[in-house]
Symmetry: C2
Subunit: 159 residues, 2 copies
């Protein structure tokens, strides 16, 4: 049995369930589902962040915290590390995963691109929640150029 997939299966069901309530949303309908997913991710991210040993993160630079998420958080959640991390050194970070596990079950056709946001909202919240617990306020968005790759953009507030 593969325990790592349990989270992925549950995530998939959760997306399906939340979006099934409102299969043909009016204006703002889809956004409501995404914001519910995002806030669930946020609280899970916060809870994960609270389990970190405090001393590991004391006095760290912002960039170190981001590196930590790309390595340890990603390993814990997705059994892989983030593929790349870039920054403009002004509080904006772009985290690029060439093959994001929660997008892998989707076929790689361009026609599915519009389905991608609902598979990314939870993880945006996860990153924002973990950063919040580590004392960093942020805005996290995601974009997909070529499935199953995606980029998460983290903009630090008041950076």
């Amino acid at each position: 049995m593969a325990d790592a997939v349990l989270f992925e299966f549950l995530h998939m069901e959760m997306v399906a369930e939340l979006c099934a309530h409102d299969p043909d949303p009016g204006p703002g309908g889809q956004n409501t589902n995404l914001s519910v997913l995002e806030s669930m991710g946020f609280r899970v991210g916060q809870a994960l962040g609270e389990r970190l040993p405090r001393e590991m993160l004391a006095f760290r630079e912002e960039l170190d915290v981001l590196k930590f998420l790309c390595k340890d958080l990603w390993l814990a959640a997705f059994q892989k590390q983030m593929d790349s991390l870039r920054t403009n050194h002004q509080g904006t970070y772009v985290l690029h995963d060439h093959s994001f596990p929660l997008l892998l079950p989707m076929a790689a056709g361009l026609q599915y691109l519009e389905e991608a946001p609902k598979f990314l909202a939870f993880t945006c919240g996860l990153l924002r929640g973990a950063l919040c617990t580590l004392g960093i306020e942020s805005v996290v968005t995601a974009s997909v150029a070529a499935l199953p790759g995606c980029k998460f953009q983290v903009v630090i507030r008041n950076a």
Copy 2:
């Protein structure tokens, strides 16, 4: 980072989210939430079951399948084995977990007993789904006598 807890955190959020829609349900309201959770568990259990190596399960007895769930499925999902498995040898099995991980975050007071079913519905579905993939139709219910312990009763259909 503890990756095992990711599933547990997500499960907790999912229960909270589904039950938040209907905090004071009328007749049948609570049951709707529970049946949504149960069917999410069912599909996750089915998906997990499909990942099992076929040859492991060929020609097995029903009891062997139940033992397999108590050991391997439980380990995969909860990082522990079921504490005991009893049967009347007529198609009814009682699986007893003395300290069920999804109930652990709840305080152990008797006043919380009525909250327990919503933390058990997903797992009832998980068992039923895994059994279904393995060719066994069943009805799975759960009961709590003393938190955080609980018993899952599996009744095989047409046994």
